[in-house]
């Protein structure tokens, strides 16, 4: 079977639970030969998706991490002068053999020129991720991570590479891709990407998963956590996301937290467990305080809606059960 359903199953086998939308986009990307641009809050599994996609498509994953100041020599290729020089030194004797009987200087120069290919070859080219993806004899998946961190100049350069998957190396000529790589770009949206780049890509916005999806993810990745506790944990995280936090916990944080709960042998999510582990979910002191404040205000009772969590409560919280989260 060859459809988005197959993609979805493949991803699941690689431990990634994809929505129909994600599966559709990846399927289209494979068949239209277009890069995918995935945006969304940090920690929703954009990078994880590339690993699962590579596994599902049976391709090697080549990763290019972007950062400010990333340039072509770091992303595409570098010329290995040192190696070239070393070869020249070692081959000196051989060169003498070759040139020893040359009658004139011109003849010697001609002979060297005929051997030029030895010195200007892929041998001395240190391939960086982009070139690696282009030259690979096997089909690969290229992950360009956090493209929004790279400079605008680099984005323009990338555009050129992504449009026809060929690069020209002055010493060697034009190198073309033998297999079109699958490409996934991720962005945390810290800056607006150029229109041209977006136009060339299929766009995928990955949001925080729904309760059911997130529970599925936790069940799949942290099977040791029992169902009841997993559900409580996921519901708790989903409530946290609705608070006004500096950095909402992502799926990766949920998974880390679930693992810590397993490690601590937690039976339920009570205030002691929470105090000890909240820092796994929230990475800012202010957020932790804010969350604790929000939780304390929660009305004791069966209701779990975020509204009760945020709403100021006139009642003094019961001292003995202060901050207890009910599952």
């Amino acid at each position: 079977m060859d459809s988005q359903v197959a993609v979805k199953q493949g991803l699941r086998k690689a431990q990634y639970i994809a929505t129909d939308e994600i599966a559709t986009v990846l399927y289209l990307a494979e068949h239209l030969g277009k890069p995918v641009l995935a945006e969304g809050p940090a920690g929703v599994g954009k990078t994880e998706l590339s690993k699962a996609w590579a596994a599902a498509a049976g391709r090697e994953l080549i990763r290019l991490q972007c950062y400010e100041g990333l340039d072509e020599t770091k992303a595409l290729y570098e010329w290995e002068y040192a190696k070239q020089m070393l070869y020249t030194q070692l081959l000196r004797d051989k060169l003498d053999d070759l040139l020893g009987d040359a009658a004139s200087l011109a003849e010697a120069a001609d002979r060297i020129a005929s051997q030029e290919d030895v010195f200007f070859s892929l041998r001395f080219l240190l391939a960086r991720p982009l070139l690696k993806a282009i030259l690979s004899p096997e089909p690969v998946l290229l992950l360009i991570d956090e493209i929004d961190r790279a400079d605008a100049e680099f984005e323009a350069f990338l555009l050129e590479v992504l449009s026809d998957f060929q690069v020209s190396v002055p010493e060697l000529g034009t190198l073309r891709a033998t297999h079109l790589p699958l490409v996934l770009l991720t962005s945390n949206n810290t800056r607006e990407l150029s229109e041209a780049l977006k136009r060339r890509c299929l766009y995928l916005y990955i949001d925080y998963p729904s309760i059911e999806n997130e529970l599925d993810i936790v069940r799949l990745r942290v099977p040791d956590l029992n169902l009841k506790l997993a559900r409580e944990a996921v519901e708790f995280v989903q409530r946290l996301r609705r608070l006004d936090l500096h950095k909402s916990p992502g799926v990766s944080e949920t998974l880390d937290w679930a693992r810590s709960l397993v490690l601590l042998n937690a039976r339920s999510i009570d205030s002691r467990t929470l105090d000890a582990t909240l820092s796994v979910l929230l990475k800012h002191e202010r957020d932790i305080q804010r969350a604790q404040l929000g939780l304390r205000r929660e009305t004791p009772g069966p209701s779990h809606s975020a509204e009760t969590l945020q709403m100021p409560d006139d009642q003094e919280p019961d001292n003995g059960e202060e901050g207890v989260v009910r599952g």
Binding site: L28, L37, E39, A82, M85, D151, K198, R199, Y203
Partner: protein, 464 residues
């Protein structure tokens, strides 16, 4: 799915035109992708068909709501078939209803017949009704709500559910038994919904067609750059913020290139030797010293009413460029000096600027730069050193208070540069309570920043 399977492409073209009409930028290549994508995925599963369209056509999150709103208008599931009375009622009961029907008023009779006979509205009926309802007058997508209501009224279908209840009451009075009544209710309600849905979709589609014919006019972003700050409307602020982000990106690239490729960077002998050890000491890679240390900014801005727009954009620009600056401290004054840098420490620039301006409400203050400077010199002089560029942003209208030019001169001696951003042109300096002619000779440079373009150029100069 399209109403007719064969016309998916045609419908797609109309849909894309509708998106463009609503302000989404869709390129030719993207519409081609959409056609290829939908052909590949097929239209059998509606949500997958929608995902395929969305990923190819919508490239930023903010456009998604527009897509989600327009999609059902163009690719509706088609009306579910209306239920015929004979599906729900026995022949006896139908006969009973028929007799009852004759005793109803003409209007209700007509409505009931339509609902019972499962007769959907024809396109012609709908077209006439939307025209009568005032389609010509619709200007915005949001006009769809009243237009739908008006069309329902024209078709004599408004308040359908209430009138269904009314009908049922009358029928019960005419002696229809309870079971049959329940069946009738179900049938009438579902048919009423189908009719209302049909009208809603038709109105939405004709509205989209109409709006497409007369695309919304937007102020050209370039023109906004040259508009004076005080004449900017609130509705344009969104566009302007986007412009500021774009300008900041451009300034950043320029600043970093200047840093990287600037002339006069000296060779760093030690690093060069180290880096070239692997080439046997042959210097293939030249390492240069950082051209200079990154600048530090101290910004003093007047946040009285007239200065607010300028200050807002200045702070926005400078804080967007934080990675090119070693440190920025900012202060706001009207009649006293207040540090506002903490707001920028934990919020994104847009939010922080809004927060700061909210915390210092506009009103009738006695602007006093002299006293504010005095406070600044006493409390915060440590944030001005020889690497610091001090930016004074204000109109120098000082309410005839002491101008304290001595303090400006003192700051000038201490700082690397002291520049003044003034939204007023030199021709107005010195008029009324303006002290600008006193300050101007004491500072390194005065920039007139009456619009976004001038402001951007002035900020760019700061990085030279």
């Amino acid at each position: 799915m399209a109403r007719r399977g064969s016309s998916v492409d045609e419908r797609l073209v109309q849909f894309i035109a509708g998106l463009r009409g609503a302000g989404v930028r869709v390129s030719l290549a993207e519409s081609q992708d959409a056609a290829l994508g939908t052909r590949l995925m097929g239209a059998a599963d509606r949500s997958i068909f929608m995902s395929a369209l969305r990923t190819t056509l919508i490239k930023q999150k903010s456009d998604r709501p527009i897509f989600d709103k327009l999609f059902p208008m163009y690719f509706s599931t088609g009306s579910p078939p209306m239920l015929h009375a004979s599906d729900a009622l026995s022949p006896d009961e139908i006969e009973h209803v028929r007799t009852a029907l004759r005793r109803l008023s003409g209007e209700l009779q007509e409505l009931l017949r339509r609902l019972l006979e499962a007769a959907p509205l024809t396109d012609e009926e709908l077209r006439q009704a939307t025209l009568r309802a005032g389609l010509e007058g619709a200007r915005r997508p949001s006009d769809g709500v009243w237009l739908t209501q008006q069309t329902l009224r024209e078709l004599n279908l408004s308040d359908l559910l209430e009138r269904v209840e009314e009908l049922l009451k009358q029928l019960s009075r005419l002696g229809l038994d309870e079971g049959a009544l329940q069946e009738m209710r179900k049938l009438l309600r579902s048919n009423a919904q189908v009719l209302a849905g049909q009208v809603g979709r038709f109105v939405a589609a004709s509205l989209a067609d109409r709006l497409r014919e007369r695309p919304r006019r937007r102020t050209a972003p370039e023109a906004l750059l040259d508009r004076p700050f005080h004449s900017l409307r609130a509705s344009e602020s969104e566009e302007l913020r986007r412009q500021v982000a774009r300008l900041a990106a451009r300034l950043r690239t320029r600043a970093s290139l200047r840093q990287k490729r600037g002339k006069g960077r000296r060779i760093d002998a030690k690093s060069t030797l180290r880096a070239n050890v692997r080439y046997g000491g042959v210097p293939f890679e030249i390492i240069r010293r950082e051209r200079r240390l990154k600048a530090k900014f101290t910004i003093l801005c007047d946040v009285s009413t007239s200065m607010r727009p300028v200050v807002g954009f200045l702070l926005l620009l400078v804080y967007h460029l934080q990675d090119q600056v070693a440190r920025t401290r900012s202060f706001a004054y009207i009649d006293h000096m207040e540090e506002i840098s903490p707001a920028f420490a934990h919020e994104r620039p847009e939010r922080a600027v809004a927060e700061v301006l909210e915390s210092i409400p506009p009103g009738h203050y006695n602007t006093d730069l002299g006293q504010s400077l005095d406070q600044f010199v006493h409390r915060h002089l440590d944030c001005v050193d020889r690497r610091t560029t001090v930016i004074l942003c204000g109109d120098a209208r000082n309410n005839y208070n002491p101008s304290r030019t001595d303090l400006v001169a003192r700051l000038r001696r201490r700082a690397r540069r002291l520049v003044w951003f003034n939204p007023e042109p030199p021709s107005l300096w010195g008029s009324d309570d303006s002290d600008m002619p006193l300050y101007a000779p004491l500072v390194d440079c005065v920039y007139t920043v009456a619009n976004l373009r001038q402001l951007t150029e002035a900020v760019d100069e700061l990085f030279h």
